[in-house]
């Protein structure tokens, strides 16, 4: 492009956008034409809406609504919890220049609140100085306490009829989002065509999806249907693939706790000239890990402690590749004493054999056809009562047709290598079976440095780190856990990499109260809040001794911080 055009383009793009008041006024003018019926019927609505828009704009300029047909934001009563405020205050930490959101935390308001079987769910909205809004979704944790769960920033005004996101919190899924002013009613449709209304508050919605409808293959949410004031469908948003089908093979990587060197076959089922096989290996933290393989490919892993699973029955479903053909394979686990029953559309009921607590099913092709498909997977307790019931997708179920699922790719590992920054610390550790692990620290300045982890000289992980002194003081000990896994499980190593303030002592403490000191390497120049670095391997002996936690000690030998060992310890 020639100089004059480039120049004009650049200057053109520098023109300021219309501010939000201008856009709202224009929208209101359009709304007055689009909805004359409403204005005639309720002459005060337009004025009231305009007043609301104005008031809301005063309260939170970036959040205000958009006219009589739009969802005007009226914040619900209640202040945001401290945890949310802290999260928002830290939102821009480490953001690249120009990418900061700059939330106006003091203007955070609640736009959605509902009580569910599991606890209260809420959505909070925070305007930003950049004219956007940040939404934070609060959902119950495993103890039923509502806590900030996911958050993200978006345009202040919806730029799509339905904006939706999904998330999984323990066993419960959530479909949440907001609708534009064109939508007055929202319906959630499931795979088997059942529909339910989703209440809107300020244009926002939340639909908790119970555990029975979360796994792939169940009667999951399929579509959101938005209707206008007159009941006509304004927009349909496809949800298929959101929950169970989103990452069908996210569990196909070997869990570090699985001792694969001691793996054994539990059950094998012939399929298309190949075999689907369920293997089991001991877990290093107690219990067992199961691996589902079809032919030579591993399709999923599932580790369970000796104590009973949270749900009476749980399973995974794959459209696997077996002998070059697709196969529908279901593998699962049941609580002790719970039987599994399969119910088909044609009324047939059958109970697959349990091997210990595990089961493996290959659905024959005659069960893929309409009218004969799997309708329910039911868990039946020792008392004969139904313990759990998974309604399965029958109509429109994608796993009954099409090619086999794609296998997942190995996870990417970040490798950081900043040779141009001076090396200020190096920690070396000769492991039991995995050779030499080292941690190199290279420093740009006291606030920014890079850590690189190597195995026998080859980088395999690390990251660039920053310290924000104006923020709350960082923890005394910061620890990362590094499982280093070999293909056959014979050269596995489990190492902790961490930082601790120089001058603080560090020790590993075992269940019986015994302890041992850990050496801290002090860098040659100050890093962060005067940090030292260490590596610590959980050897077989330390695991036998039941390594429990790290403790930081002050000069007088007082414990000033304690970090429990993550599960592999």
């Amino acid at each position: 492009m020639s100089d004059e055009l480039t120049y004009l383009q650049e200057e053109y793009r520098r023109l300021p956008p219309a501010d939000q008041t201008v856009e709202r006024v224009a929208r209101a003018r359009l709304a007055a034409v689009i909805a004359p019926r409403r204005r005639r019927r309720r002459p005060s609505v337009l004025l009231a809406a305009a007043l609301l828009v104005g008031l809301t704009a005063l309260a939170a300029p970036a959040v205000a609504g958009r006219g009589p047909l739009t969802h005007v934001i009226e914040f619900l009563r209640g202040d945001p919890p401290d945890e949310l405020v802290t999260d928002l205050e830290r939102l821009d930490r480490g953001a690249p220049a120009g990418m900061e959101q700059e939330p106006i935390v003091a203007k955070t308001g609640k736009v959605y609140e509902a009580r569910t079987n599991l606890g209260v769910v809420r959505i909070w909205l925070t305007p930003t100085k950049t004219g956007r809004v940040c939404g934070t979704f609060e959902a119950p944790d495993e103890k039923g306490r509502t806590r900030p769960f996911t958050s993200g920033c978006m345009p202040a005004l919806p730029n799509r009829p339905i904006t939706v996101s999904t998330s999984l919190n323990y066993d419960v899924g959530y479909v949440q989002g907001r609708v534009s002013g064109a939508i007055e009613r929202l319906e959630l449709e499931y795979a088997n065509a059942h529909r339910e209304n989703l209440p809107l508050q300020n244009g926002f919605f939340v639909a908790p999806i119970p555990p029975e409808r979360v796994p792939r293959g169940t009667d999951q949410p399929a579509r959101l249907i938005g209707r206008g004031e007159d009941g006509d469908i304004v927009h349909v948003e496809d949800l298929r693939g959101f929950l169970g089908e989103r990452f069908p093979h996210q569990g196909s990587e070997r869990p570090p706790v699985a001792e694969v060197a001691r793996e054994r076959e539990v059950v094998g089922v012939p399929v298309n000239g190949s075999r689907a096989i369920l293997y089991e290996s001991p877990s290093r933290i107690g219990g067992t890990c199961a691996r589902l393989a079809v032919g030579a490919e591993t399709w999923s892993w599932d580790c369970a402690k000796d104590d009973e699973p949270r749900l009476p029955v749980r399973f995974v479903l794959h459209r696997a590749s077996a002998g070059g053909q697709p196969a529908v394979v279901i593998a699962g686990i049941a609580r002790t004493g719970v039987a599994v029953e399969l119910v088909y559309e044609d009324g047939l009921r059958e109970r697959p054999t349990l091997h210990g607590r595990r089961f493996l099913i290959v659905l024959p092709e005659q069960r893929w056809v309409d009218g004969r498909r799997l309708q329910e997977i039911v868990g039946i307790g020792a008392d004969g009562q139904q313990a759990i019931r998974y309604p399965m997708a029958t109509t429109g179920a994608r796993f009954y047709s099409g090619p086999p699922d794609q296998m997942s790719r190995p996870a990417m590992q970040q490798k950081v290598w900043r040779p141009e920054w001076p090396l200020v610390a190096r920690v070396g550790l000769e492991t039991e079976r995995a050779g030499e692990i080292s941690l190199e620290v290279r420093r740009l300045n006291d606030r920014q440095w890079a850590e690189t982890l190597r195995q026998d000289g080859t980088p395999f992980g690390g990251g660039e780190l920053r310290w924000f002194p104006e923020d709350k003081p960082d923890a005394t000990i910061s620890i990362g856990w590094l499982p280093i896994l070999s293909d056959d499980g014979k050269r596995d190593a489990f190492v902790y990499s961490g930082q601790i303030r120089v001058g603080t002592g560090l020790r590993a403490v075992y269940r019986d109260g015994a302890s041992e000191s850990i050496e801290i390497v002090k860098p040659s120049a100050t890093v962060g809040p005067n940090l030292g670095f260490f590596l610590f391997e959980v050897t077989d002996e330390r695991r036998e001794k039941r390594f429990a936690r790290f403790e930081a000690l002050d000069d007088a030998g007082n414990v000033v911080a304690s970090v429990p060992a993550p599960p592999v310890g």
Binding site: E4, Y7, E23, A26, R29, I34
Partner: protein, 194 residues
């Protein structure tokens, strides 16, 4: 806090939206959301000053009323919307000129020239104002739609209701003038900044 939400998008064409709005009028807001800001920017650059907001708003009102006449064979509604906006802008300029002529004793200048209109751009648009000063109105429109909004020759021709050849010749003239002005600036001669 982990971010595990995933947003999904399925984009309907402008033509689809306009068609749908014939049955469900509220769908027209989606078209507004897509194009209000670019339209406002164009009108601002074109030199209608504070009137950009009013003209942009009126453009959508007119577009909504005329949506049944939109050629559904065209997926992109921008040429149509820019065309409406330009017609409104010209009508307004004519009205303003008439008003000014009717009140000669109160207004010192006899007419609003292109340079006057351009001069109404706010200070943030100063570099554009300098570059565009001296261009005829139709040259300026073509240049802004081409360089600023990146419309094709055919789309500009649609918006202005002229032949593609006319668009090309206007664009050529506009570019030559702007290039000359920029060269003058580079040589430190300075130029007419309207």
């Amino acid at each position: 806090m982990m971010m595990i939400g995933i947003a999904r998008e399925r984009v309907l064409s402008d033509s689809d939206l306009i068609g749908e709005s014939l049955r469900s009028p509220a769908v027209f807001f989606e078209l507004f959301d897509r194009h209000f800001q670019p339209l406002h920017r164009f009108l601002q650059a074109r030199g209608v000053g504070d009137g950009a907001a009013d003209l942009a708003a009126e453009t959508f009102v007119v577009a909504f009323r005329r949506r049944a006449s939109f050629d559904r064979g065209r997926a992109d509604a921008r040429p149509w919307l820019f065309g409406i906006a330009l017609n409104l802008a010209r009508n307004e300029a004519r009205s303003e000129r008439r008003r000014l002529r009717a009140l000669p004793s109160l207004v010192e200048r006899p007419d609003a020239t292109d340079a006057d209109v351009v001069a109404r751009l706010d200070s943030q648009a100063m570099p554009l104002r300098e570059a565009l000063a001296g261009l005829a109105e139709d040259e300026r429109d073509v240049l802004l739609l081409y360089a600023g909004e990146e419309l094709t020759y055919e789309e500009i021709a649609d918006a202005l209701g002229v032949a593609v050849g006319t668009v090309k010749s206007r664009l050529h003239r506009a570019r030559t003038k702007v290039r000359a002005k920029l060269e003058q600036h580079q040589e430190g001669v300075g130029g007419d900044v309207g």
